[in-house]
Each structure stands twice: as structure tokens, then as C-alpha cells.
């Protein structure tokens, strides 16, 4: 075999970058803490949003890695350490979601026994939507995902030492288990954490809708980190335009998938016009919430779609980076659109309370990801598929 192995790049995050991130995280943390004391009704939905956001990035990275293993894909191996680092940040999202359990009374209408007692629908749902069962479910979801993500990432890293082919087989099995588990549990989890914020409303596509946004933002996060690593020189020999093209194609495809799912849900609710369902869309179309609805579609689909349609834009590092940042913002808008309307029905407000928790979560997320990246080989040198992913010479 005449594989050309580039010099193994090692990553050490810049000190100033880490310090700045720490400052942002601290500021966000202080805002969040003061919010819990000063305005719990406003801050808890935003803590939920931030927790769900960063947990989603790690879960999506896990899905990405698992899909590559299951489909025997070779092209993505070179930069697989990036999604692995993101997946390794899962404890952050998990911890935040556990913290959210403390905010159940502020968040969920069904947690108040007096409301449930007078409400036919809510009392019919009580066997599923009650605090103890909810807490148990949350813990089970997080434990399952955390364990499987750990299995996948650690197995991949172990392969660096000896390139044992059996580890590829083992990770394929882990990936299958992860995908199957994730598909069923995430459907339930999205309905528990997000859909039950408006407990009278239901939509069967909700799990898929949440997955589409989650995976889209996960891909964007992977692309952002990969491009940053290329810019800093660590991936100069590793990440080719072909990788960017493939990532760009995936982002383009899943952007469109998100739009497809969003529109499917919207059209069916709009068309059937059943009062108990359509109230969800009306609430999000009245007043300035309509702006959020439109911006949501523009950020998550229209801009990525139009910009990434030609071939050259997908290979253009700078452009792809900008699009990915737009998608990351779009993901926040999408979650805001899903979570906040019942709490601020009159109009969307973006203030310190809305910005604190996401700033905290994102900054801490990057700190953890950079730390993880610096601890291991930046490319999986032991992977038998690596030869297909590295640039030809």
C-alpha cells in the first residue's frame, strides 16, 4: 500500500481563544443565575432551549458518525475527530437538561395538579405526563445516549494505537444500536421536553421535525469546526475541497429536508384546519411572531438553499462557513419558535434573559470541544478507511 500519510497534526487551542470563551461562558452563567432568581418564568424556557441546543449538537454528531460507520463511508474519516469531539461534549447538554428538571413547575402546565384536575385532556394524559415519570424518562434518555456516544468515540480512539480492524466492526455494531435507540427515544424525548410545553397540542411528525433541525445544525457545527481547523493550519493537509463539497451537499440536503418536514407539518395543520391543532400555528403567526416564522424559514432553508445550489459555493471555505453560522443562528430561531410562544404569547422578546443561557452553553461547548480535540490525534490514524479520505498525491 502506498498511502501517503501527512505529518500528524496536533491541536492546541489558542490561549486567547480559550480565555475569551471562558469570559463569555462566565458572563452567560451569571446572567442565567440571576435570571433564575429575578425572573424564573422568563429564564427557564431559555435554559431549556440552550440545553436542548447543545445536547442536540452532540447527538447529531453521534448520528453523523454512526451513519458513516453503517454505510461503510470512507470519505469522511479524515475529519471524524471533529464530530467525535462534538459528541464528547454531550455531558454538557445532559447536565443542563438535568438542571432543567428543577424548572419543571415553571415550564410545564401539566405539572400543576390543580390545573390537571379541572382539565379533561390533561387528566387523560396524566399517566404519561407526570413529574416522577418525566424525571425517570429524562434520566433514562440521557444515560442511554451518553453511554452509547461514549462507546462510539472511545472505540474509535482506541483504534489509533494499533489499527485493529475488529474495532471498526465493533463500532459498526455500536452505531446500529445508537441509531435505533436514538430514533425511538429521541422521538419521545422531543415530545416530552418540547411538545408538552403546550400539552393540549400534538403532532405526530414532531420527532422527525426536531431531528431534521438537530441534524442540520449538527452538520453545520461539524463544518464550522473543520473549516476553523483548516484555517488554523491543522487540517491543511487533510481537509480537501472534496470534503467541503460533500459536507456542503449534506448541509444543502438536510436544509431542504428540514424545509420539507416543516412544510409538511404546516400544510397539514393549515389544510385540515382543526381548531385544537391550528391554534399552534395561529399563535406563531399573530403579530410579530409572524416575523419569527418567516425568518425561521429564511435562515434554515432559503439562504442555505440558494447559496449552496451551485457547485462552487459548496467548495468555497469562507462561504460555507458563513452559511453554517447562519444555520446555527437559524437553529436557535427554530427552537425559540417552538419553545417560547406559550411563555411570551404577545410578541417575541429578545433580551438579556434570552441571550444569557445560549451564550453560556455555546461558549462552554466550544471550550469542551477544543479541549477534547487537543487530547487525541486530530485524524484517526488507525482507521482502515482513512486511505480513501485523505487527498491523493
Amino acid at each position: 500500500m502506498t498511502t501517503h500519510k501527512p505529518g500528524l497534526p496536533n491541536f492546541t487551542p489558542g490561549k486567547t481563544t480559550m480565555r475569551n470563551l471562558a469570559v463569555v461562558a462566565a458572563a452567560g452563567g451569571i446572567v442565567t443565575l440571576s435570571g433564575v432568581i429575578l425572573d424564573p418564568a422568563r429564564i427557564w424556557p431559555n435554559i431549556l432551549l440552550a440545553a436542548y441546543y447543545v445536547a442536540g449538537l452532540s447527538l447529531a454528531a453521534g448520528v453523523f458518525i454512526a451513519l458513516q460507520y453503517i454505510s461503510n463511508a470512507g470519505w469522511s474519516v479524515a475529519f471524524r475527530r471533529v464530530p467525535e469531539a462534538i459528541a464528547s461534549a454531550f455531558p454538557l447538554g445532559a447536565a443542563m437538561l438535568l438542571v432543567v428538571l428543577a424548572g419543571i413547575p415553571e415550564l410545564y402546565e401539566w405539572s400543576h395538579a390543580d390545573v390537571v384536575a379541572t382539565d379533561h385532556i390533561l387528566s387523560a394524559k396524566a399517566p404519561w405526563l407526570n413529574v416522577p415519570f418525566f424525571v425517570v424518562r429524562t434520566v433514562v434518555y440521557l444515560a442511554l445516549w451518553g453511554w452509547l456516544l461514549y462507546k462510539i468515540t472511545s472505540t474509535s480512539r482506541r483504534q489509533d494505537a494499533d489499527g485493529d480492524l475488529r474495532l471498526t466492526g465493533a463500532n459498526k455494531r455500536h452505531s446500529v444500536v445508537y441509531i435505533v435507540t436514538f430514533a425511538f427515544t429521541f422521538t419521545l424525548a422531543s415530545m416530552d421536553w418540547i411538545m408538552s410545553l403546550e400539552p393540549h397540542w400534538y403532532s405526530t411528525i414532531f420527532g422527525i421535525y426536531n431531528f431534521s433541525g438537530l441534524f442540520q445544525s449538527g452538520l453545520a457545527a461539524i463544518a464550522i469546526l473543520a473549516i476553523l481547523l483548516r484555517r488554523s493550519g491543522h487540517f491543511r493537509q487533510v481537509l480537501t475541497d472534496l470534503h467541503l463539497l460533500n459536507l456542503g451537499k449534506l448541509i444543502f440536503a438536510f436544509s431542504t429536508f428540514w424545509m420539507y418536514i416543516w412544510f409538511s407539518q404546516y400544510l397539514l395543520i393549515w389544510y385540515a384546519n382543526i381548531p385544537e391543532e391550528v391554534v399552534y400555528m395561529i399563535r406563531r403567526q399573530e403579530g410579530s411572531w409572524l416575523i419569527f416564522t418567516v425568518v425561521n424559514v429564511v435562515f434554515n432553508w432559503l439562504i442555505p438553499f440558494i447559496v449552496l445550489l451551485p457547485r462552487w459555493t459548496k467548495r468555497n471555505e469562507g462561504l460555507l462557513l458563513k452559511i453554517c453560522i447562519i444555520i446555527m443562528i437559524g437553529r436557535w430561531i427554530d427552537l425559540f419558535w417552538m419553545i417560547l410562544p406559550p411563555f411570551i404569547p404577545s410578541a417575541p422578546v429578545v433580551s438579556l434573559w434570552e441571550l444569557g443561557p445560549p451564550a453560556f452553553a455555546i461558549a462552554l461547548f466550544f471550550i469542551i470541544v477544543f479541549r477534547t480535540l487537543s487530547k487525541h490525534h486530530l485524524i484517526p490514524v488507525g482507521d482502515p478507511m482513512l486511505v480513501e479520505s485523505l487527498p491523493h498525491h
Partner: protein
């Protein structure tokens, strides 16, 4: 103008790629490369630019989408706006699916047609082959010997470094170009088509046709109804007709018999008239009667029937007063008759006032007479005062 071409055959992908690149870099003019399948990197080796067909695809897709969206809005909201299920006329969410489909249809089919055009592919086109096996297992590189500096030996040397299978020199004599569709100009086809046209026209004139019979219906569906039509033949009845004779004395709904000589007594006529009125009309009858009188009678007879209308005021002979003794003696039917046929200077009003409204005019005349009589005998006003005239109550 003829060209000298040099064809070189190779047996594999690597050889053709290397040979193509080498000849291009050596400055030879490559006419084309023929391969049994799409060899990746060959476009690069032969120095071809990427195709511009994606732009065609994009433009056509956009055209299809915009045109179809406009068409749906125009048909559903402008041309014939139909309310279906309470959905808005401009139901943009509901127009998305078809818009999308037309975008795909235009883009896909249009791109393929554009591909056929730019590549010169069309049914019946002769392949400009160099060798049959290029569609099977050989790869051919065709060079143009464009100037005297073309050194066959040097080229042969260059190519044989890449496992050359075969080399052939040939002179390409340009074919007489036949325009696409030139088969239409073939005489046999022309005569055949003309003959067919003549036969069709001749048959149209010569075949016997019956204009009194309807054309034959192909799958008539609901054109023929299952029940009998009123005028169709019917074997179930002795007279063979579907239409039955109604029992004697039947009056068609809404029909107003007025010819007193044929339709019985005045009382029955008035009753028949009243029976056609709805309750609303009954209560409104007085106003309507006054309006008919004001329109058709008052110009001559005047508002109170004294014969002092605007027309006599200008010199036309004045009619006798409606409350004159002779007039009081007239029955309802006789007044109706006068209205219908006219009398003296009074013309017939049959053409201008429909039957039931003539009865209303009669009624108003009676009312005027009542008022006049009451005014004359002040001491004894009639019972009921302004009781309306009703033929049922007051058959005279």
C-alpha cells in the same frame, strides 16, 4: 474540405488518460476521445471545460415554477374564483406542490432536450464512429493532423508508450450534411402523404351522410337518461306516448285563465287569481294595486278616478269618472274586460299589464269607488272602513 485524422486505440482507462494528457501537452489537436463508459478525469485530460447545462436546468426550473404559480393563482383567484371548502382563493400553501412538480418537469425534460441538441443526438443520427469496439471494450483517441509539422513517427512513438493497441490513419471526407428532418423531403414520403390526403378528402365528399340523424355517440355516458323523456315513445301505454293527458279542469301552476267565456264565473277567476298569491303578496297587494293604477290608469283617470289626469289636461278627451253610477254598476269581470280590450277612446292594456296585475288594477278601481261612495254618504261610512277588496269576501 477533408481532414487527415489519426485514430489510436487503447485497452484501458489508465492508458487512455495518460495518452490523452500526453498528446495534449505535446500540443497536438485532439478531435475527440471515444470511450465505452464515462472515464473520470478524461475531461480534464482532454482539456474540456465543464458543461453549461446546469444553467439551462436552473433557468428552466425557475421558469416552470414561476409560470405554474402564476397560472394557479390566475385560474383559482382571477379567471373563475371558486370558493372550495372555505379555502382562500389565493391558497399559496396549497399551490406549492403543483408548482414544485412543474419546476421539476420543466427542468428535467428541458435539460435532456438541451443535452440532445448540443450533443447532436437525435433519432436516426448516424454515429461518427471510428471503430465499433469503442462502445464495447476499446478507448479511441482521435487526433487531427492539422499542419505539416505533424510527425507521424513522433506521435506513434509517444502513443506506443501507453500500450497502444492499434493505430490507423484515415482521411475524413466531409459528408453531405443532411439537415435534421430531411427525411420529410423524400419523394416517396411526400407522395404517400399527398395520396393519403387526397383519399381522405375524397372519402369525406363521397361517403353518404344523413344529416337528419345524430352522429353516433362513443361511450355516451349520461347523455342517454335511464327514465323516459317526456316526448319519447313508450310502449307501456296504449297511445304509445310517454306524455299523459292531465285530468280535465287541470290548470298549470302559475297559469292565469282570463277569458271569462271559457273559464267559468268571475268569482272563480278571482279565486284563481288570489290562489296564486303568496301570503306576502296578499298583505302587500294594496300597495301593488295602487302602484299599477298609478302607472297605467292615473295618467288619464287621475289619482281619484275623476277623469282629471295629466293627459286630458292637455286636450285628450277626458274619460268618465270612475265613481259615476254606470261605473259603479260594472262587475269586476267587466272592468277586467275593459282593461283587456279597451272601450271608446281607451286602448287595450292587455299587452302592457300582465293578467294578475290587471286584476290588481280592478281592485284599486273598487277601492276608489268605495272611498268616493263613503265621501258621498258621510253619515254612514262603510263597515270596516278601509277594508281591502278581496274577491273572496266581496264577490259582486
Amino acid at each position: 474540405m477533408s481532414r487527415r485524422l489519426l485514430s489510436a486505440w487503447f485497452g484501458g482507462e489508465r492508458d487512455i488518460l495518460a495518452a490523452t494528457r500526453a498528446t495534449r501537452e505535446a500540443g497536438y489537436q485532439i478531435l475527440d476521445v471515444y470511450t465505452p463508459y464515462a472515464v473520470h478525469g478524461l475531461d480534464n485530460a482532454a482539456g474540456l471545460r465543464p458543461s453549461r447545462l446546469p444553467w439551462v436546468c436552473f433557468a428552466l426550473g425557475l421558469t416552470g415554477a414561476v409560470a405554474k404559480l402564476w397560472y394557479q393563482i390566475w385560474t383559482s383567484a382571477t379567471s373563475w374564483a371558486l370558493n372550495v371548502g372555505g379555502k382562500p382563493f389565493k391558497s399559496v400553501p396549497a399551490f406549492v406542490p403543483v408548482t414544485f412538480e412543474m419546476m421539476v418537469l420543466f427542468a428535467a425534460v428541458g435539460t435532456v432536450v438541451a443535452f440532445f441538441i448540443v450533443s447532436g443526438l437525435r433519432p436516426g443520427r448516424k454515429p461518427r464512429h471510428v471503430y465499433d469496439r469503442t462502445t464495447n471494450d476499446l478507448f479511441a483517441l482521435v487526433l487531427v493532423q492539422h499542419d505539416a509539422g505533424f510527425d507521424i513517427a513522433a506521435v506513434r512513438d509517444l502513443l506506443s508508450r501507453h500500450n497502444l493497441v492499434r493505430l490507423e490513419e484515415r482521411i475524413e471526407v466531409p459528408e453531405v450534411k443532411t439537415a435534421p428532418g430531411s427525411f420529410l423531403l423524400k419523394p416517396a414520403l411526400g407522395w404517400g402523404l399527398t395520396g393519403a390526403l387526397v383519399i381522405v378528402v375524397a372519402l369525406t365528399y363521397l361517403l353518404p351522410r344523413t344529416f337528419t340523424e345524430p352522429n353516433s355517440e362513443f361511450l355516451p355516458g349520461m347523455v342517454e337518461s335511464v327514465p323516459y323523456d317526456p316526448l319519447s315513445a313508450n310502449t307501456n301505454f296504449a297511445d304509445g306516448m310517454t306524455l299523459r293527458t292531465p285530468p280535465s279542469g287541470t290548470i298549470a301552476r302559475g297559469h292565469m285563465p282570463w277569458d271569462s267565456s271559457r273559464a267559468g264565473t268571475e268569482a272563480s277567476l278571482v279565486a284563481a287569481y288570489v290562489s296564486t298569491l303568496s301570503p306576502d303578496q296578499l298583505s302587500d297587494r294594496e300597495a301593488r294595486a295602487a302602484s299599477v293604477f298609478a302607472t297605467f290608469c292615473q295618467p288619464c283617470h287621475g289619482p281619484a278616478g275623476k277623469g282629471d289626469g295629466t293627459i286630458p289636461a292637455r286636450g285628450y278627451p277626458a274619460p268618465p269618472s270612475l265613481d259615476a253610477t254606470n261605473a259603479l254598476k260594472l262587475t269586476d269581470g267587466q272592468i277586467f274586460n275593459i282593461l283587456t280590450y279597451g272601450r271608446g277612446n281607451m286602448p287595450s292594456l292587455a299587452g302592457r299589464i300582465p293578467v294578475n296585475e290587471r286584476w290588481l288594477a280592478v281592485q284599486h278601481v273598487r277601492r276608489i269607488q268605495e272611498i268616493a261612495t263613503a265621501a258621498a254618504t258621510v253619515a254612514t261610512p262603510p263597515a270596516g272602513g278601509t277594508a281591502p277588496l278581496n274577491g273572496k269576501e266581496n264577490p259582486r
